[in-house]
Each structure stands twice: as structure tokens, then as C-alpha cells.
Amino acid sequence: MNFKLEIWRQFESGQDGAFETFEVSGIDPEASFLEMLDQLNERLSHEKRRTVAFDSDCREGICGSCSLVIDGNPHGPRQVTSCQTYMRDFIDGATIKVEPYRSTTLPVIRDLVTDRSALDRVIEAGGYISTTTGPQPDPNAMLVAPDVQEEVMDAAICIGCGACVAACPNGAAMLFTGAKVTHLNLLPQGQPERESRAISMVNQMDEEGFGGCTNYGECARVCPQEISLDVIGMLNREYRKATVKKKPKAPPKMLTQ
């Protein structure tokens, strides 16, 4: 298969970028989108030209590293990660536009690589649980009902790729944060930090400059893990409950004799 690629080239963050056109030919229909870019890069390096920078790691849809915007769709046309998008999904001879994520909170580092550390900082703010460091606990000491487990796992499969932010007209990270809050706040292990987690993750989200949700629902339409918009309702609910809940009083001061 032959394609004409319009790829965003930008040498450094903060600089201006532009689309550059490349022609690729003899592509196997079973090649993934990233393998097609690999072939292009091999040719570019033979020609001693600067290769196209893009993120990838596992190439099996579980790490969340790949982050292309293909023809305006975060990840590509099929609601799967870029690495799981295959060239057979495109028409032979088509012109394909490849861009990085467009969000002021996830700035471009080079070409198609974006800095997604803002999402990591949201995780850092509340994506942990308190646990014992002593002897190993009994495996079934904490019971989780099957329906809770189902709901939690549906949220926990978030790979943190950031496609939701890229798809959102407001550049909001509510689906991502909602998935994390749903995941940890419903499990018994996450209860000690339930309130503080919702508050500190939302605060961090605001701090990073992500927009707010206006219920367009585009995030859920591109999410390669098919996380539902319900997690945003859950995030709103958890945040409201946490802010309304009475703050615990400071313990009375100990008197020294």
C-alpha cells in the first residue's frame, strides 16, 4: 500500500511547527501504524535526514505511550491505541494527517512526542493507598463484591495515554482523573484517603491548567480502553461529598506536666 503522510514537524517545544509531507510505498496492510512510521524513519536515516520522533513502548495497547492524532482522531479511526491501528484500516493512496496531541497542558517536546507529565502529577497527588508494610496480610481479608469489582476494573484499565485530553474541546482531564478516582475510591483498600484523594487530584488537575468538563463526551468516544463517561459523574460526586463533609477537628493539644 502507498500513502502520503502529512506529519507535524517541530524541533523543540515552544518553537513553531509545520506539516511536512512524506510519501511511503510498499507498506504491508498488516503493518501497524507505528511500524509504517518505523519504515519511514529507516528510510529517513538512510538519507541522513532527521527522523520523525514519536512515542512508543509496548506496542500491544497496554502501556499508553503511543499518542498520535491520526486524521484528527486521537490514536486513530478505530478507538484503539495508535500501535493497534493497522494500515488495512486506511484506503490505499490516501493522504493521512499525523499530529501530536494538542493541549496546552501536554506540550509538544518534538514532532509527535508530547510531555504528559501533567497526568503523572495528577496521579501523584492522589493515586496511592495506605497499606501495611509488616507481615503479608491474609489474601482474602478484604472482601470486594463482584459488582464493585466489575465497576472498579472498568475504570482501572485506564492506561493514562491522554487521548481523552486530546479529544476534549476544553482540554479537560476529567475522564482520566475520574477513572483513577473511581478505581481507588470504590475499593476497600482506597478508603483511608477517599476524601483527600478526590480533593487533591482535582486541585492538581486545576493547577496543571486542564479545562473543565462540559459533557461533550468526546473523551469516551476516543478512549482506547472504552472508559465510560460515568466516571466523570463519579468524580463530581466524590469531590462534592469530600468538600461538603465536615473536616475532622484538630486533636486537642496534649498538656505537659
Partner: protein
């Protein structure tokens, strides 16, 4: 609460809910005019004076009306300030020349700002016409609600303005009511379907309920007011003042 995005969204949702609640009451109240010109006094005129006398003698004349107006004005102002600040934030979160591609978002959700702005303009016009009687194209009289409605809605352009405004109200509400439930965290996977249908149902109910009055007056289903009763009504009001 006001400083965080979710907190501000919650406040916008609550003020929106207040305005929505008022719309339901307003629509129900409007339906009083469907009783027609009546005998001595049209029912809608009686309803209007009842609203003003509400709470008497415990509360002074028109006090409840003014309280409701104060609440509504506050809600509108807070709603608009919240939305303007939130949308400025949303715009800043995306680079200027790269709008997100439309994948599946509904057009009423994209028209929220425009429909909101048009509704604000309509509310100002509506108050100038029927509350302060400043836009006095068709002769308007204080207290003669039925006669005022009848006269105003004989003009096709007034009917058109009201119907167009209601279309935008419908667009605004269809996205707003569901969003409100989502923002307040009232949704859940089991309830979502119901909330979606409920939002559309309530929107249709409100739009049709409001549209009945101008349309029925214009098509002549609602008869012309009884001249004598209207003048009697005005005189009694004048006597009161």
C-alpha cells in the same frame, strides 16, 4: 468551592437548576391563560393578582414576587459569571489554532454559549415587553394580562420571536438538564438512560407548554378579551394603588 473547576461547575449547575425550577412554575402559571377570557375576570388576570397578593397579610403586597425576582437575578448573574470564567479556562487549555475535531458531540452542546446568549437577550426583551410594558407596540395595560397577551400575539412577529426563543430554550435545556445531573453526580450507569430521556421529556414539556400561549392566541383559538371586564379590572387596580 468557587475556586476549583468542579466546584464552580457545581454552582453553575445549581443556579441552572434554580432557573429551571422557575421555568416549570412559569410555564404552569402561563397555562392559566388557556382558560380563556372567562366571565368577569380572565383566570390569568386573577392568577397574576394572586401572585402579587401571595402571603398577604403576613407579608406586604408584591413581596413574594420581589423575593423570587431577587433570587432569579442572583442565579442568572452567578450562572453567567461562572460560565464565562469556566469557558475562558477551557479555551486556555487548548492551543489557539487547533480546535478539537468534532467526533460525536451533539450540536446543542456546541451551541450552549450561543443559545445562552440569545436567551439572555430574549429575557431582557420579554421583561421590557410584559413586565415593565416598555415595548408598548400593541397597547398594553398594567394588570390586564389576558388583554395584553391577546393584543401582542395578534402580531406575527411577536409570535415568531417567542417561538424562536423557545427553540433555543429547547436546545439549551436538552444539553443542560442532562449535564446538570452529571455535574451534580446524580447519574449512575443504571440511571443514565432515564436521565437522558427525562431531560428530553422535560425539555419538550417546557417548550410545548410555553409555545401554547402565543400560538393559540395567534391562531385565534383563544378569544378576544371581554372589553368591559378588562376595564373593570384596570379600574379596580387603579383604585387599589
Amino acid at each position: 468551592m468557587w475556586r476549583s473547576t468542579i466546584g464552580k461547575k457545581t454552582i453553575v449547575a445549581v443556579t441552572g437548576a434554580i432557573l429551571l425550577g422557575y421555568l416549570v412554575l412559569h410555564m404552569a402559571g402561563n397555562l392559566n391563560s388557556l382558560f380563556g377570557p372567562g366571565g368577569a375576570e380572565p383566570r390569568v388576570d386573577w392568577y397574576a393578582s394572586w401572585l402579587r397578593e401571595f402571603g398577604e397579610p403576613l407579608l406586604p403586597y408584591e413581596s413574594v414576587v420581589w423575593m423570587v425576582r431577587a433570587v432569579l437575578l442572583t442565579a442568572v448573574v452567578v450562572h453567567i459569571i461562572g460560565v464565562v470564567q469556566l469557558s475562558a479556562r477551557n479555551r486556555a487549555a487548548r492551543p489557539a489554532h487547533f480546535p478539537a475535531r468534532k467526533i460525536g458531540r451533539s450540536w446543542e452542546s456546541r451551541l450552549m454559549m450561543l443559545s445562552g446568549l440569545l436567551l439572555l437577550a430574549f429575557i431582557v426583551f420579554h421583561i421590557l415587553q410584559f413586565t415593565t410594558l416598555t415595548i408598548d407596540v400593541t397597547p398594553l395595560e398594567h394588570g390586564a394580562v389576558y388583554a395584553n397577551l391577546y393584543n401582542a400575539f395578534q402580531e406575527w412577529y411577536f409570535v415568531a420571536i417567542y417561538v424562536v426563543a423557545l427553540v433555543f430554550l429547547g436546545l439549551h435545556l436538552r444539553h443542560a438538564i442532562w449535564s446538570l445531573a452529571q455535574t451534580l453526580g446524580l447519574d449512575s450507569p443504571e440511571r443514565n438512560r432515564g436521565i437522558r430521556y427525562g431531560a428530553t421529556g422535560l425539555t419538550v414539556l417546557l417548550v410545548v407548554g410555553f409555545a401554547l400561549v402565543p400560538v393559540l392566541f395567534w391562531t385565534g383559538v383563544l378569544a378576544a378579551p371581554d372589553e368591559e371586564s378588562a376595564t373593570a379590572m384596570i379600574n379596580s387596580l387603579k383604585g387599589r394603588a
